[in-house]
Structures are given as C-alpha cells and as structure tokens.
C-alpha cells in the first residue's frame, strides 16, 4: 500500500490534501464570502454534470440532451429525503435507499434470468426491467416503510445530532445518484439501440418529460412537499466544502479509472467506429448503456450537492434550454478531455454567473442567451476541437504502457507481500 503512494500518487495525495485545507481555510476565515462560495459550489456541481455528459458524448459518442433530467432527478430525490427527515419522517430515506436496493436486486435477477435465452428482444428486456423497478419501489413503499421506518428513525436518532445529519445527507446523495442511475438504465435500454441522432432527440424528450412532471409534483405525483411549479423550499442547507470536494474528487477519480482501463477503451472504441467495435467482439449496446448510466449517476450526485447548497429547487432551472449548458461546457472544453470540462465548467459559472453579474450593468442577464451561442459559434469556427482538445493534466492521463515499468510494479508488489 505504502509503495503505491510513492512517486506520482504521493504527490497527488499531498496536492489534494493541500487543496482541501486551503479551500477550508479560505471559507472558514471568510476570505471567500458567501456569494463566491455559492459560485464555487455551483461551478463544481455543473462541472460534475458536464463530466458525466463528457463520458456519454465526448468519450462514448452518444449525443445526449438528457443530462439535466438526471440532474433534476438526483436533486429532487435527495432533497426530498432530507426534507422529510428534518420534518421527522424517515419514509423518504427508506424508500429511496431500500427501494433502490430492492430494484437493483430484482433487475440483477432479471438479467440473470434473461441471460439464459438467446435473441431476447430489447422491448422484452425493457419491460422486465421496468417491472422489476416498479416492484422494487412498490414493495419499499408498501412494506419497507411501515416495517423499517420507525427502526431507522430510532437508530439514526440515537447517534449524536451532527453525525445523524451527515449520515442522512450521505444516504440522500447516494440515493439521488442511484435513482438517477436506475432511471437512465431503464430509459437507455430501448433508446440506446437507436442511432446517435435519434438518441439525442429522445433524450431531449426525456428532459421535457421530467420538467413537466416536476411542474406537477403536487398534482400528478404524490409529492406535495415539492410544491410543483412554485418550487421546493425548506431544503436543509447541508452542502459543505468537504462534501463538494469529496464528491468532485470521487467523480474525477472514478471517471479516470474507468477511462484508463479496458472498459474505458471499449467505451471509446464505440465512439471511434461502432461497426468495427462490434466486429472485434465488443458488445456495443451494453457499453453505451454503461457510459450512459455512469454519466447519469454523476449528474444525480451533482444534483444532490446543488440542491442542498441552494436550499431551493425550481422546475424552471431544469428546463430544456438549461440542459444545453453542460453540452456547451463539454464542447467548449473539448470533447473527450476531462481537463477541458473541469476548466470550462468553472470558467462558465465563475465568469458568466459570478464576474459578469457583479461587474456588468444590470439587464445583462437578458443578453446572456445571445452571448452564449455567439461564444459557441466563435469556438466552432476558431477551435472546433475545444479549448483543450484532448489534452489531459498528468493526473488524468494514462500511464505510458511500458513493459519495464509494469514489470517494476509487479516486483514491487511481490516484495510488498514478502515484507
């Protein structure tokens, strides 16, 4: 273990800790005021959403406009969990976590069952998975809530207050992310069989459906606390610097490790040439679904972070015009560059939402949607590969495949075992 922390990994860890401490100190001492804190947290959330989209569009080549739909699912789901919790109701927690676990188990069972048959039609797979998910969440509402609800409350209340809050918040974030993942899986099964253009249109439809559902959460859906088109208020403001930092690093780390592995190369091969990938033995559709689900999980997590920072959610902030934001960021930063997305994501929020609002005359907001597309147009004309092209900072780059080096690490691990 210690050997792995030497060299590059060691520097990386030290750098991350320094970054974290610096951020915490600046925030605690008030050097970064609440306005800028909000901007930074917002930037982080948007960047996480965009990283997910970059995995789907930049690395897997599937043009998606659905990213904000999953962002919304993550935000509303996690907000609902914590909102209910602070109103002494553990049902949100039980349904989101317990239901997700049940649904995932059932869906796993479905996949084991269907693997026995050859040539199962996509629609059959889809219907079975939807049934599994409905059954899972239905059971959690009807059985788990009355059975487990009081017990969960008692156990969590027995912990010290601060710990309870962090545990509930953690579970809410995980629940939101998993829920976004399940939704994207179910949506992805039928739709990812389509070609890329049709997929783009279908995802646009998804975003619109989610927005309409959110407008009617109190009428069509049984969630009066979400207050429909009036916007959800009273979400506890629990997002703190450690949570933002940890989720951000977690997403970067997971994405880097996926991309620089055999799975990642399979994902990228689908972007390069779908037919060729299929004909070297890669199951193209399942890798499209994989990238889509992982990207949506990132969006769901970001949604939870954003909801508990803003403490207010409105369906209007998830409409389909907004859903172009991550797309613009990804294209701007460079399709297929994590560095570019991080750079462009923060630049986007810090410049357009932070600096411009402070220093430009009032009324500029009206012009924003003239300026955004203009920037994008100029970008496409002058540097179509994006700001960073496919450049990555060393941390996000893959190691040079050299046999000597690999042999070296092999002996190192052998010595480690012997020692």
């Amino acid at each position: 273990m210690l050997r792995r922390l030497q060299g590059r990994n060691g520097y990386l860890l030290v750098g991350l800790v320094l970054c974290f401490v610096l951020g915490q100190v600046l925030l605690s001492t008030g050097v970064i005021n609440n306005y800028w804190r909000g901007i930074i947290f917002w930037g982080a959330a948007i960047t996480m959403v965009s990283l997910g989209l970059n995995l789907i569009y930049g690395f897997n080549g599937q043009f998606s406009l659905g990213q904000y739909g999953f962002y919304a699912i993550g935000a509303y789901a996690s907000a609902d969990v914590t909102y209910r919790w602070v109103h002494n109701d553990s049902s949100g927690l039980v349904v989101v976590i317990g239901g997700s676990v049940l649904a995932l188990l059932l869906m796993w069972g479905v996949s084991v069952l269907l693997r026995r048959f050859y040539g199962v039609r996509t629609m059959t797979v889809f219907v079975f998975n939807v049934l599994a998910a409905v059954l899972g969440f239905g059971l959690s509402v009807s059985v788990l809530v009355p059975v487990l609800g009081p017990a969960v409350s008692t156990v969590l209340q027995a912990l010290p207050g601060v710990v309870t809050q962090q545990v509930v918040f953690f579970l809410a974030l995980v629940g939101g992310a998993v829920l976004a993942g399940i939704a994207s899986f179910l949506f992805g099964i039928p739709v990812l069989e389509l070609g890329s253009d049709y997929f783009g249109i279908a995802t646009l439809g998804f975003t619109i459906i989610i927005k309409v559902l959110l407008d009617n959460t109190d009428t069509l859906l049984p969630f009066p606390e979400m207050k429909g088109a009036r916007g959800m208020v009273g979400i506890p403001q629990w997002t703190t610097w450690p949570w933002v930092f940890l989720s951000f690093v977690f997403i970067l780390w997971v994405m880097r490790n996926i991309l620089h592995s055999s799975t990642g190369r399979a994902i990228i091969s689908v972007r390069e040439d779908e037919r060729a990938a299929e004909l070297v033995g890669i199951d193209v559709v399942s890798y499209k679904i994989l990238a889509f689900v992982v990207g949506s999980v990132f969006a769901g997590l970001a949604g939870g972070i954003r909801a508990h920072d803003l403490a207010f959610l409105h369906p209007q902030s998830f409409n389909f015009i907004q859903s172009f934001n991550p797309l613009i960021i990804v294209v701007f930063g460079g399709l297929g560059s994590m560095t570019g997305t991080v750079f462009a994501g923060f630049l986007w929020i810090v410049l357009l939402e932070g600096v411009l609002r402070l220093y430009l005359p009032a009324g500029f907001e009206t012009w924003r949607f003239v300026v955004y597309p203009l920037i994008l147009l100029l970008m496409m004309l002058l540097r179509p590969e994006g700001l960073m092209g496919r450049y990555e900072v060393p941390f996000l780059r893959s190691r040079k495949p050299s046999l000597q080096q690999d042999g070296g690490t092999e002996t190192a691990t052998a010595q480690e075992v012997a020692g």
């Binding site: 050859y118 040539g119 997971v254 490790n257 996926i258 592995s261 055999s262 799975t263 990642g264 190369r265 399979a266 990228i268 091969s269 390069e272 040439d273 037919r275 060729a276 990938a277 299929e278 004909l279 070297v280 033995g281 890669i282 199951d283 193209v284 994989l290 040079k400 495949p401 046999l403 690999d406 042999g407 690490t409 092999e410 691990t413």
Partner: protein, 271 residues
C-alpha cells in the same frame, strides 16, 4: 462432402470440420446478393474466395459475422449455430475478420487498437478498474504484453504509441490483421488483405499469412483480387459470380476452368 472440391487429398479430408456454411442465401430488397452458397472449412486450411466485383464475396463475410442475418441458410461453427447471434458473440466465439476498407480506430494509438480487441477476454471487470485492484494491474500488464507480442509479429512494435490513422497504408493493413488476431480467433476471415499493396508488400504478406496460420493454429478464409496472392497462398479456391458458386478446386483447376475464365474475361476469351 458438401461445400468442398472433390480433388483434395485424403490427408486434408481427415481434419476436423471448423466452419460450415450451408445453402446461404441473402436478398437486399429484391436483389439477390448471395444464392445457395455452401462452403465447409476444415481445421488449418487456407481457402480463397474469388470472383468479379459485386459477386457477393464481402456479403458472405458480413453474413458469417452477423452484420445482417441471412434470408436463408445455416452457418455452423464447431457445431454452434451462428445465425441470429449478435456480431460480438460470433467474434467472441472465435471468428475474426478484417475489412475491405480499413476500419481501424483511426484516432487511437496502435497499441490501443489491439488492446480494444483483447477486451472481451480482459479478465477483469469495472469494479477492479475503478478501485485499481491488484487483479486490474496484473491483467492489464498481461494484456499489454500480449498485445505488444502481437505487434512485434507484425513489425509494429516501434509504432505502438503512434496514432493508427497516421500509419502508412501497408502498416494499417497489418495492424488490422493484428487487431483481428487479438480477439483469439480460430477462424480468420481476411477481406482483400492485399488491396493497395505493392508487389514487395504482397510477398511479405504471403509469408505473414502462412506464418500466422501455423503460429496461431488458424483456419483462414480469404477474399482477394490479386491472383498472385490467391494462387500462391490458398490450398483450394471457391469462385463466385452473381452470388453463386461457379467453380471450386485447387488453384491449378480453377485457373483452367472455362467458367472462371468466362466470368473474369468474358466469353470471347475462351475461343
């Protein structure tokens, strides 16, 4: 035996059957691209498929690798029915192919092109790679080593870090064969491997085809226009025209078959 010339020696006929294509027929709308095509390949054979442009040779390859399902007919590989299997399952079962127009992952490195084809037998999953477990590091190193060995066979080991699209044409052809071999095939379908090569490169390619057949214990089915390559490399040849088989036999027999000469050169050539 169905789908084989009668003139082959008993020594060849004793080998086990690997791939059976039986009565394969395929229509594009109302156009009959392949009609009643039957070929039986035995272990270790090098078989050629020739015919004028548009005869349906590439369509046969596409049908075998599941690019589209045949209208009629059966394809069996080691007793497994391949019809209606998705392409990636056919490839993973042990049939690999190259393309008439090179289809490399042009923006990726030479090494990654080969490692992508190794993916189905990578031996580690998503969790191993996310957590960077020991299994990941081991299997990843093995996979890289295996890929580099393959590249060395094709004389590409110095180009491993180059972008595949930047390689000269002849090397791209070689890389495509290397990538196909990385899938661990038993049967290799080569679609015009010598297209665009100069005579010297073709000589090298002939040696290479013989070498990989013996080294990887392959059965090779080859579509080609360059007669020099086909006649020198193949043990027997099937000739197609307008989607149908018009002749089959050893290179010598095929070369002198009047139907073949007619298909290639026209009726006058026979007189």
């Amino acid at each position: 035996m169905k789908g084989r010339p009668e003139s082959l020696g008993p020594e060849v006929e004793q080998r086990p059957v690997v791939l059976t294509i039986d009565g394969l027929t395929h229509y594009f709308e109302s156009l009959r691209a392949v009609h009643n095509f039957s070929v039986t390949l035995k272990q270790g054979e090098l078989v050629g498929l020739i015919g004028p442009n548009g005869a349906g040779k590439t369509t046969v390859f596409n049908l075998v690798t599941g690019v589209y399902p045949p209208t009629e007919g059966g394809i069996h590989y080691n007793g497994v029915d391949l019809v209606s299997l998705p392409s990636h399952d056919i490839i993973q079962a042990g049939i690999a192919r190259t393309f008439q127009n090179i289809r490399l992952f042009a923006d990726l490195t030479v090494l990654d092109n080969v490692r992508i084809a190794c993916h189905p037998h990578a031996g580690y999953g998503l969790v191993d790679s996310i957590l960077r477990l020991r299994k990941f590091r081991q299997k990843e190193a093995e996979m890289t080593e295996e890929s580099l060995e393959l590249l060395a066979i094709f004389g590409l080991e110095d180009r491993q870090a180059d972008i595949a699209g930047s390689l000269p044409y002849g090397l791209q052809r070689r890389l495509e064969i290397a990538r196909a071999l990385a899938t661990n095939p038993r049967v290799l379908l080569l679609d015009e491997p010598a297209a665009g090569m100069n005579p010297q490169e073709i000589d090298q390619l002939m040696d290479l085809i013989h070498f990989i057949r013996d080294h990887f214990n392959l059965t090779i089915f080859l579509v080609e226009h360059r007669m020099r390559l086909v006649m020198n490399v193949c043990e027997w040849i099937t000739v197609m025209d307008f989607g149908e088989i018009i002749a089959r036999g050893t290179p010598e027999e095929v070369r002198n078959d009047p139907k073949v000469i007619e298909a290639y050169l026209g009726r006058q050539a026979i007189r």
